[in-house]
């Protein structure tokens, strides 16, 4: 294997793996909180649309304006994320980190419809896979075509998605054991983080540190969530004390 082929394979694999982690985090989060049927159906539909786009456009894929797509998807994820984070913070403040557990028959979020398809879970998963999948495709086309090693780049990109996807599938049983309130908190943190990152990037702004900013945003929002839980518990405790001492 020549050094060029190896360099293209490793670079494409690692860059694609970063995008695949974001994709799997969203699908796993939606599956754990809203049910796996809608999450997997959304992921499959997103993957199918992506395949059609790749098949039809081929190398011309890079002409798709990714900026507006990032802005729209990012803004929606940010709004969803903040709503879920709000719910998660309130539940952890009220019931603690042990909370209620999720079972296979009862998804975590009680606004998930039982008698009809859960379109919210479907759409969230769909756009997570479509956007991140498009980014993987861009990476593959960019690295592959500039080095004249498109075949190697395709194998590396698909390999990265397969490896990260398998890792995501392997942690699914563990996700079922996590209390519902904690799941909502974590998924809210993830969606808020990715939503902030993508919406700002979609406006054509580069983050300092590039993808590393995602980790820093996650830490920042986790600290805010921790402070908010402590604040709500404090006010709840003070309220309970006031009620207890009231005549």
């Amino acid at each position: 294997m020549s050094s060029t082929v190896l360099a293209v394979a490793v670079t494409t694999f690692l860059a694609s793996a970063v995008e695949a982690i974001e994709m799997v985090a969203i699908v796993a989060g939606v599956g754990a909180t809203r049910g796996w049927r809608a999450a997997l159906a959304g992921a499959a539909a997103g993957g199918a649309v992506l395949l059609v786009l790749v098949a039809v456009l081929g190398v011309a894929l890079t002409r798709i304006p990714i900026g507006p797509l990032r802005l729209v998807v990012g803004a929606l994820l940010l709004v969803f994320g903040l709503n879920w984070l709000r719910k998660g913070i309130r539940r952890v403040a009220a019931y603690g980190f042990r909370g209620l557990r999720v079972t296979a028959s009862a998804p975590a979020d009680e606004d998930v419809p039982r008698d009809r398809p859960d379109w919210t879970g479907f759409v969230l998963s769909f756009k997570g896979v479509l956007l991140e999948g498009l980014e993987v495709a861009f990476i593959v086309v960019t690295f592959g075509s500039t080095s004249n090693q498109l075949g190697t780049a395709v194998v590396a990109g698909v390999g990265a998605v397969a490896v990260i996807g398998a890792l995501g599938a392997s942690i699914q049983p563990a996700l079922r054991r996590i209390p519902r309130s904690v799941l909502q908190l974590v998924v809210g943190l993830l969606l808020t983080t990715f939503g902030t990152f993508w919406s700002v990037e979609g406006l054509g702004i580069s983050w300092p540190g590039s993808d590393l900013a995602i980790l820093l945003l996650l830490v920042w929002y986790a600290a805010i969530a921790g402070a908010a839980i402590a604040w709500l518990r404090g006010t709840r405790g003070a309220g309970a004390t006031r009620r207890a001492v009231a005549p």
Binding site: L71, L76, F80, L82, R90, L203, G204
Partner: protein
């Protein structure tokens, strides 16, 4: 029948996009417009959304106090 379907369709998208608190969606939309305006004015604004989002969250949590979690 059609009116009911259209109303249901509209309700789904409202609930889907706006969620539990309309103030969150409105604040994020305004925040992104401000970030874009600052960027057009060549002012670095990447830091603004990570400030606006927690502020909106805390205000929304404050508004929701007293409601069932």
């Amino acid at each position: 029948m059609i009116v009911r379907w259209v109303a249901g369709f509209g309700r789904f998208w409202y609930r889907f996009i706006v969620g539990d608190d309309w103030m969150i969606a409105a604040s994020i939309a305004v925040g992104l417009v401000v970030v874009y305006a600052l960027t057009l004015a060549r002012i670095s604004a990447w830091w603004l959304m990570p400030v606006i989002a927690p502020l909106v969250l805390l205000v929304s949590l404050r508004r929701a106090r007293g409601q069932r979690a």
